[in-house]
């Protein structure tokens, strides 16, 4: 028996025993888990929406450790799942390794980047969304000290912080932005206790609005901010409802749209690059009934004006990852 046959045979056996049809889409959640109320959950929501609308099924796994990434990719690709959607930047290196082995499968990254020809790289313009968050935060602040709490200290998270600081300083040039990172390893995404401690530390420095770009750690930031009576800004998913009236807004990254669209296109999905920026509704501020009382008309007007200018190219928000530096804040 040739290798190809045995591979196909194995794949077919697995598909049968699992009761899954070939060419179902598959989604791989990163270490935070699919109910992190943030990045991964946004992906989960997109997949759920697709499943409800089409009545079809998809494959999913929440990986438990760094070493499982490659196995999950291979396993899904081998059963014929298409497309295989990944969440998180850490999938980049495993995709470089595995995507070329399965040229007929389309892989999708969210935050990650792979140069393999069968990968659709989804990149979000977090700096633009964070800029808008910065505008609203600066206008809501009375102390003119704004806080930023990042998860793992990586260029991606500095990109959030840098955009935020630019938005703050464009609105209130005299304001001060203080920044802290939770850690240097992936555990920093899931450490709400430390998030709470950092929030208290920033409050003691005078901060009265704090933006958390920290995955599960951000839940601790939002909780502590609500307990201490200051405002917070959520991230990735709409987190306004977590503490109604205490969360100023959320910088929503439409991972759900990215996942939903990829699943909708299914096998016809084209590899390449998909930019999810303000112009493509890839990032946005969440406005709903939970923060309606906090957002004034001036804030809305300022956000709309900035959005229009960014889309028109009149304002360029500096992207930290473009040159690994930020003109307005030191991390």
């Amino acid at each position: 028996m040739t290798l190809m046959k045995s591979c196909l045979g194995a794949a077919a056996t697995m598909a049968l025993s699992a009761g899954a049809a070939l060419a179902d889409p598959a989604i791989i959640f990163d270490l935070g888990g699919k109910f992190d109320k943030s990045f991964n959950e946004a992906g989960h929501n997109g997949a759920q929406k697709w499943a409800e609308e089409t009545g079809k099924d998809y494959l999913e796994i929440e990986i438990q450790s760094e070493a499982q990434r490659e196995q999950a990719l291979r396993r899904f690709a081998e059963t014929g799942a298409n497309p295989v959607i990944t969440l998180g930047f850490a999938m980049s290196a495993p995709l470089d390794e595995i995507a070329p082995d399965y040229p007929d499968t389309t892989f999708v990254t969210n935050d990650g980047w792979s140069d393999a020809p069968n990968v659709l790289n989804t990149v979000f313009s977090e700096h633009e969304g964070s800029y808008l968050a910065g505008i609203v935060a600066a206008m809501a602040s009375e102390s003119d000290v704004l806080g930023f709490i990042g998860g793992m200290d990586i260029p991606l998270i500095r990109k959030f912080g840098c955009g935020y600081a630019q938005g703050v300083l464009a609105t209130k040039p005299e304001a001060k932005v203080i920044s802290n990172m939770t850690g240097t390893t992936p555990t920093a995404w899931n450490d709400p206790v430390k998030g709470g401690e950092l929030t208290k530390a920033q409050i003691s420095q005078g901060a009265d609005v704090i933006y958390a770009a920290a995955g599960g750690t951000g839940l601790g930031v939002l909780q502590t901010a609500a307990d201490e009576g200051i405002l917070s800004v959520g991230v990735d998913s709409n987190q306004n409802h977590l503490h109604p009236g205490k969360v100023l807004t959320s910088m929503v990254k439409r991972v759900d749209v990215s996942v939903y669209d990829a699943m909708m296109k299914g096998e016809d999905l084209e590899p390449g690059v998909r930019v999810m920026d303000l112009a493509h509704d890839g990032v946005a501020l969440a406005m709903d009934e939970h923060n309606a009382d906090l957002i004034t008309d001036e804030m809305k007007a300022a956000v709309e004006e900035a959005t229009a200018k960014i889309i028109a190219g009149e304002i360029t928000v500096h992207d930290y990852t473009s040159d690994d530096s930020c003109p307005v804040i030191d991390f």
Binding site: A10, S17, L59, E66, A67, Q68, P155, T185
Partner: protein
């Protein structure tokens, strides 16, 4: 007759333990509304039903053979080495440094040097708790556990600040060069005309692990040093009276133990990932304790127990891939097996032993 036959001790009791664990796991799966029979079928077909499944099962088993032997050898010297996890992490660092910074002409040379690198780093990590035990009486269980945390922090530091590729967000080392890539079972079997899944990570380290089983057996039961280790483990006071140095035995047993744990990294770091990632050990250091307990600290038993846990690991990951059984529950199933085969061993052993003895008495009249 005051004890049960050997076959009952080595086969019947582990089997009963396993059965209880599986029945309980089945009940847990039933409680969350899934079908336990189907789950078991999926585990078996996923782990043993294809050369792909075997490839992963054997890959995990290779890890567990190394760490199981490591725990066994220390246990024979009455040292309970809980630090396999940390020793394997540091061993991984050793393997990664060797692979990244020494240019090798061929994988076979690279493998030998990486084995030495992993073993030396792992052994070095075990020496400190060993010395503290031998000279200062600090309990080795406590110190080795604490050293796991230090190892994790050291690895964090090295990956974030030293080994991380510039511009990469992932705390992981760069890829090892092509010449250090180990041949997988697919590469080894292909010239013989046997087709084996190309995707499975099982590699030449499996044979090193099997050789390690034989070497450990010869060392413990066919050498003077092994006799001293076993004598010391059975009765430290008597062995001192017989002229065996406790310091020497503790140090040697722990060095061998740490070295074996560290050598595990030729499988996961060099053979599979081909780069050093955080958490590459995946709990194999702790599973090694269960493997050693279940394998009665005998290399052949360790081999069988490692295969079982390899099956559980691979079958478990198949479960989380193809069913909606949450990942926490897969860990619960694995934990139940560990609990019953390792910790609650005596719960089954007592009654079974009594049955055998009563039966023997009645027959003797």
């Amino acid at each position: 007759m005051d004890k049960m036959p050997k076959w009952a001790d080595v086969a019947l009791i582990p089997f009963l333990n396993l059965l209880i664990a599986f029945v309980l796991s089945g009940l847990v799966i039933l409680a969350i509304g899934e079908n336990p029979i189907k789950a078991l079928q999926m585990m078996i077909s996923g782990a043993l039903g294809s050369s792909y499944g075997w490839g992963y099962t054997l890959y995990y088993a290779t890890n567990f053979i190394f760490t199981g032997l490591a725990v066994s050898i220390a246990f024979k010297a009455a040292m309970f080495n809980i630090g396999g996890e940390g020793q394997a992490m540091i061993g991984g660092l050793g393997v990664a440094l060797v692979c990244l910074y020494i240019p090798f002409p061929h994988w076979s040379v690279a493998l030998l040097v990486a084995m030495a690198g992993g073993a030396i780093f792992g052994a070095a990590w075990a020496i400190i708790p060993a010395y503290l035990q031998a000279r200062r009486g600090s309990h080795v269980v406590i110190t080795t556990i604490m050293f796991n945390f230090i190892a994790a922090s050291v690895l964090n530091y090295m990956l974030v600040n030293v080994l991380r590729v510039k511009g990469s967000m992932d705390p992981a080392s760069g890829r090892f060069p092509e010449t250090t890539h180990l041949p997988t079972l697919h590469d080894i079997l292909a010239p013989l005309g046997i087709s084996f899944s190309r995707a499975a990570p099982v590699n030449v380290s499996l044979f090193i692990a099997l050789i390690a089983c034989v070497v450990v057996y010869l060392l413990l039961w066919r050498s003077r040093l092994g006799y001293e280790i076993r004598a010391f483990g059975l009765s430290p006071d008597a062995s001192v009276y017989a002229g065996i140095s406790p310091f020497k035995i503790i140090m040697i047993a722990m060095i061998l133990s740490g070295g074996l744990s560290g050598m595990m990294s030729i499988n996961n770091t060099m053979g599979e990932a081909e780069r050093l990632v955080l958490n590459s050990v995946e709990g194999a250091g702790f599973i090694g304790i269960a493997v050693a307990l279940m394998g009665r600290n005998h290399p052949f038993g360790v081999l069988l127990a490692a295969l079982l846990f390899g099956f559980l690991y691979q079958g478990g990951s198949e479960l989380s891939l193809w069913t909606k059984i949450p990942r926490e529950l897969v860990i619960v199933i694995q934990a139940l097996v560990i609990l019953f085969t390792g910790a609650l061993d005596n719960m089954v052993r007592g009654p079974v032993e009594r049955i055998f003895i009563n039966y023997a008495k009645r027959r003797a009249g």
